[in-house]
């Protein structure tokens, strides 16, 4: 499994330019990832525009990543500090990644709206989980727009919640992604 992820990463990040013309690789031109924690006493929202990602539409492979320190919008600057230092440990695990393959047999070269399920490894806080993420994909005029919403259990990624903030931090974080991709 690890090996395969590695291959995907290599394929998408290192040699992409070589295949660019034939392989039909799309990359993220603009994107936003936001998350929200709805706890009884506090709602925390943060988002990042620092989304990088590639999508190969023939083999339907993809790889996305976001830099954790780029998340902004917390209720206080102290909260952002805690997020990076105590929970996510951004210095040790600077990125969250999701790479894998689309399950559905869809032809993304044709304009249209598709609902696809992306199966891959979702890594946060250095812990990798296999996930299936349902996304709405719109292909129009050679551009691909991806929208998806999913949830992340902190427990799945070994992010402990101290008892003190139990009512301020939800164990389930709702994540929304919106990306626009263009051919590379």
């Amino acid at each position: 499994m690890k090996q395969r992820s590695f291959v995907v990463a290599i394929l998408l990040f290192s040699f992409t330019s070589l295949f660019a013309q034939e392989a039909k690789i799309f990359s993220v031109k603009s994107g936003k990832i936001s998350f929200q924690s709805d706890a009884p006493f506090e709602t925390i929202r943060a988002s990042s525009n620092d989304v990088k990602g590639l999508l190969e539409i023939e083999k339907k492979l993809f790889a996305f990543k976001v830099r954790m320190e780029s998340f902004d919008g917390f209720n206080s600057s102290l909260q952002k500090e805690h997020f990076n230092e105590n929970y996510i440990e951004s210095s040790k695990f600077p990125e969250a990644t999701f790479n894998g393959k689309i399950i559905e047999d869809v032809d993304l070269t044709k304009d249209g709206n598709y609902t696809i399920r992306a199966k891959g490894n979702f890594t946060v806080h250095g812990i990798s989980q296999e996930r299936i993420i349902k996304s709405d994909v719109a292909v129009k005029n050679g551009k691909i727009n991806i929208e998806s919403a999913f949830s992340v259990l902190l427990d799945d990624h070994n992010i402990p919640i101290p008892k003190v903030v139990k009512d301020k931090l939800s164990s389930e974080i709702n994540v929304k992604v919106n990306c626009e991709l263009e051919p590379r």
Binding site: M1, R4, K101, I103, E104, D105, T115, R117, K119, E130, R131, I132, I133, K134, F150, S151
Partner: protein, 960 residues
């Protein structure tokens, strides 16, 4: 001569069709739910089958697709449903609901569902591999993870391994380690056909318990056995010609295979280890697209074909040697010998059926017995301990055949036989007994009797009066070597250590014609009678089991036991299978395709397998652990025809007392024989039998109840499954203890208040009486006041002197005044007019004394005087007070004025107070006030200014 298996004579199966408006409805998948029902997934949604008919389930509007391709029940009895569209749902409150999944549902058909003991669910798909559902999340394994193909047909879990069959071989996933730990086997590993459509876990018996092995069904190459431990394939059937395999099931020593084009293929093995194939049989060939083989709790094997659900008897009852009715009518006896051959008498001789395993056919060999002619019947067959076959005839004695050499020997009366007419031959080990029309004959087989031509030592029991009759239908040597004689008309006799004991009507045996005897595994002796069913003798008591106990007929002609301690009793209506331990009865009859069964005395061959002669051939009955006990499901409880949530509500209010219980007994073998027995504990302690599947009980009084219901296919309910529902009907409000207590308390309080009020009223009345007396006393006292009398008499003297006539008038008024005072004093009220008249009298008298210095102004009209009432002597007392307290002279005249104002009488006088006070001052006023308090709520008000004294007396009307 040999006979082939003939498919056309195979039993006619029971076929059930889903009636629906949906065109081209097909059953796609089928399971049996733990409650007993079948659940069928069709192109038109989910249906339930209860042995009788199909009932559809509602489908949530969220579900777009109606085609159900997979069903499974998890450990919590929750039913999971997979659709053609890839959607996944579950059954809740009789409705198929869509599963909410963040990951979305698969986009291709769900081919199968598995639920393991940990609560995880597995969904195989037609093109997306396998999905795992755990902790409310979906995960996926497909070719990217090492699966050999994404088109998965079937999954099986055993010992922590998930085996999945695909279009490209078999996959074994070590789910104990990881869902991604996948190994696969294809044709390169010896798999005969890469397309494996079906998987069936073999019953692991003791020897190969260590590793799981499976039957696999393939696209073109038929079946194979796969052992997971050593990854080997075996057990193929060479030159498979039945095409695509859709489904597999094992039953006993048989493997049933549902094929796409050729109906059902049954593979029979030599033993339970299923290694050696005995026979392959193709049946139900007229059913296309056979699929979904399942074996119900009762041992029936079912399969589907398009919109039909077909019931077969499974391995339980099969026509193994079909023949036509002509042969059937000739047979009087059947025997299965120790080598598996089946002997019957046909056409003046014997026919031996043996199985040719090479040709996969039963063949027959005939033995012509020269002694037997047209008039001779062969009545019984017996195999002795040396394998020689004894043939009993009617009139021609016994023929002993050595099946090895084919030679035979004829024994007649001459050879110490009592009578040439033999009814039955039985025995055990070296003991051999012959029953004839002339008594019984005992033979002790010695070593030498291996050879049929050696002499036999017979002992005659002729005219042994202790047996009771020379006419003996059959004899049994039991496990304790006792010998039982079934006599014609003399009951049953046992011979034990040289002593004969006869049991007859004195022992409660109603019919003394005994046909047959057998012994169950507990040593109880069972015997059949003419017209009175069976008797079971446990050594002490004779228990009668007849029609009342569920036996299908009162006359049982043939009797034997099977391998599972059941008594097999044959009557003209079919076969009774009686559990020897519980006496519960189930049946094999027309429902199982048994149209007619030979009821001759010796037309059953018992033990491990039971052979019966039917009108279409020799039937084999295989005893099974599975019981035919019907399941029972409490479908619903209704209160005034409104459904109650069975899981929730158990308490009803007093007026929710019209309850309807509906229940279903599920019998797949005998759906028409279902009957119920119910009891409503709390109302009655008696079980009530019924055929209705619902019960309405109106007007249930408050209390605790338990509704219990059982289902049975016979009249025996002791061993039946039971469903129950406990509930409470509350007492109405007015019967609740706290309500009663409250009411009592309120009543007490009311009584207390009433008593208190009464006491108060009495006291008031007493007081009013006292006041009245006081008032009278006051008035009288003032009127007999010496001053008044003195003044009056002085005035009288002067009047007498002036005018005698006026004096008379004066005295008249004086006496009038006293008369009125005396008349009115006892009354509560008098009219104002009467009161004013008193005052007029008074004033007349006083005016004689004071002249115009005393003035009385009456402003009250005559009408008002009549209308209003007043307490007697009120006005009188006030005027008297005014006269008493004021100095009256020409300079200071006293003017007393009365008027009515707002329903009150105003009495006003000017004040010109005397210097000295007469005694009794204030007594009169107080008296008036007290009296009025008792009469009315209006108050007497007294207003005193410097100039005048005004008293306001409330007036009463006659109606108050």
């Amino acid at each position: 001569m040999f006979l082939l298996w003939n498919n056309s004579i195979a039993q006619i199966p029971a076929t059930y069709v889903i009636s629906s408006d949906a065109p081209g409805l097909k059953i796609l998948t089928l399971i049996q739910h733990s409650s007993g029902y079948f659940l069928a997934g069709t192109t038109n949604g989910l249906y339930r089958f209860d042995g009788h008919s199909f009932t559809p389930f509602a489908l949530s509007t969220q579900i777009k697709n109606k085609s159900i391709t997979a069903i499974a029940e998890d450990k919590n009895s929750l039913v999971w449903i997979g659709f053609q569209s890839g959607e996944i749902g579950f059954l809740k409150n009789k409705t198929v609901e869509l599963l909410h999944a963040e990951e979305g549902h698969p986009a291709v058909a769900i081919t199968s569902i598995l639920a393991d003991t940990s609560g995880r669910k597995y969904f195989s798909t037609a093109g997306e591999g396998i999905y795992y559902y755990k902790n409310k999340r979906f995960y996926n394994s497909n070719t990217d993870d090492g699966l050999s193909d994404n088109y998965v047909y079937k999954m099986v879990i055993e010992q922590g391994h998930l085996v999945a069959s695909t279009d490209r071989g078999l996959n074994i996933i070590d789910i104990g380690k990881s869902e991604k730990d996948i190994h696969f086997f294809t044709s390169a590993n010896g798999l005969p056909d890469n397309i494996v459509r079906y998987l069936y876990l073999k019953n692991n018996n003791a020897e190969n318990n260590s590793s799981a092995s499976y039957w696999i069904g393939m696209q073109d190459k038929g079946i194979a056995s796969f052992s997971a431990s050593d990854s080997t394939f075996s057990g193929f059937i060479k030159d498979w010609s039945f095409g695509q395999v859709n489904s597999l099931i094992t039953s006993g020593r048989q493997l049933w295979i549902a094929t796409q084009d050729k109906g059902i293929v049954v593979v029979e093995f030599a033993d339970a280890s299923m290694n050696k194939i005995l026979a392959v049989k193709n049946i139900y060939t007229n059913f296309a697209k056979a699929n979904n083989l399942i074996c119900d709790d009762e041992g029936n094997i079912w399969f589907t074909s398009n919109n039909q659900l077909i019931k077969t008897n499974g391995a339980r009852l099969q026509n193994i040697i079909p023949f036509d009715k002509k042969i059937y009518s000739q047979i009087h006896s059947i025997l299965k010998d120790r080598t598996g051959n089946i002997w019957v008498n046909v056409n003046k001789g014997l026919r031996r059926f043996y199985f040719d395993s090479l040709k996969q056919q039963w063949r027959a060999k005939s033995y012509i017995l020269s002694i037997v002619d047209d008039k001779t019947d062969i009545t019984s067959l017996y195999e002795d301990k040396y394998g020689n076959i004894w043939v009993g005839t009617m009139g021609k004695g016994i023929i002993i055949i050595d099946p090895v050499s084919g030679k035979n020997r004829h024994l007649t009366e001459d050879n110490l036989l009592v009578d040439g007419s033999v009814l039955s031959i039985t025995g055990k080990d070296e003991e051999l007994w012959i029953s004839s029309l002339g008594g019984a004959v005992h033979c002790n087989l010695g070593e030498e009797n291996k050879d049929i031509f050696q002499p036999y030592s017979f002992i005659n029991f002729k005219n042994v009066s202790s047996i009771g009759s020379n006419y003996i239908y059959s004899i049994l040597v039991d496990s304790k070597k006792r010998v039982w004689f079934a006599t014609d008309g003399r009951g049953i006799t046992v011979y034990d250590h040289g002593i004969f004991t006869n049991y007859n009507q004195g022992n409660g045996i109603k019919s003394l014609v005994i046909y047959n005897v057998c012994e169950d595994k507990n040593g109880s002796i069972w015997f059949s009678t003419l017209n009175n069913g069976l008797y079971k003798f446990d050594g002490k008591n004779f228990e009668n089991i007849s029609v009342e106990q569920g036996l299908n007929d009162a006359t049982i002609t043939a009797l034997t036991t099977d391998a599972k301690n059941n008594i097999i009793a044959i009557s003209k209506k079919g076969i009774n299978i009686i559990n020897a331990a519980t006496n519960s009865i189930s049946y094999l009859d027309i429902n199982q395709g048994l149209e007619e069964v030979n009821t001759d005395l010796n037309c059953v061959a018992g033990n491990d397998e039971v052979y019966i002669v039917g009108n279409k051939g020799i039937m084999r009955y295989l005893s099974t652990e599975k019981s035919l006990k019907p399941k029972i499901v409490l479908e619903g409880v209704q209160v005034f025809l409104n459904n109650v949530d069975l899981g929730q509500k158990r308490t009803f209010s007093y007026d929710e007392n019209n309850l309807t219980f509906s229940y279903t007994g599920i019998s797949f073998s005998h759906p028409d024989k279902i009957r119920y027995q119910y009891k409503l504990e709390g109302l009655s302690q008696e079980w009530i039998n019924t055929k209705d599947n619902s019960l309405n009980i109106p007007k249930l009084p408050p209390g605790n109840y338990t509704f219990r219901v059982k289902a049975s296919i016979s009249n025996e309910f002791d061993d039946s499954y039971e469903a129950s529902y406990s509930f409470l009907i509350q007492k109405p409000l007015w019967l609740q203890w706290w309500f009663i207590a409250m009411v009592l308390l309120a009543l007490g309080l009311l009584l207390y208040l009433l008593v208190k009020e009464r006491v108060k009223r009495i006291k008031r009345w007493e007081r009013s009486e006292k006041e009245k007396v006081q008032s009278q006393f006051e008035t009288l006292k003032s009127q007999v006041n010496p001053h008044f009398l003195f003044n009056s008499f002085n005035t009288l003297i002067s009047v007498i002197e002036e005018d005698q006539q006026k004096a008379v008038e004066y005295v008249e008024h004086l006496s009038d005044l006293y008369r009125k005072i005396v008349t009115y004093r006892d009354k509560d009220v008098i009219t104002l007019k009467e009161e004013i008249e008193i005052s007029n009298d008074y004033f007349f008298i006083q005016k004689k004394r004071f002249g115009d210095n005393l003035q009385f102004k009456n402003n009250v009209s005559e009408q008002e005087q009549e209308l209003y009432m007043i307490a007697p002597l009120t006005l009188q007392m006030l005027t008297e007070n005014a006269v008493k307290h004021n100095a009256i002279s020409s300079e200071t005249p006293l003017v007393i004025e009365i008027a009515i104002c707002k329903k009150s009488l105003l009495v006003k006088n000017n004040i010109n107070a005397k210097r000295s006070f007469e005694k009794g001052a204030g007594m009169g006023l107080q008296n008036i006030e007290k009296r009025y308090k008792l009469l009315t709520n209006e108050e007497v008000t007294i207003k005193k200014t410097d100039e005048s004294f005004i008293v306001k007396i409330p007036l009463l009307t006659s109606d108050t």
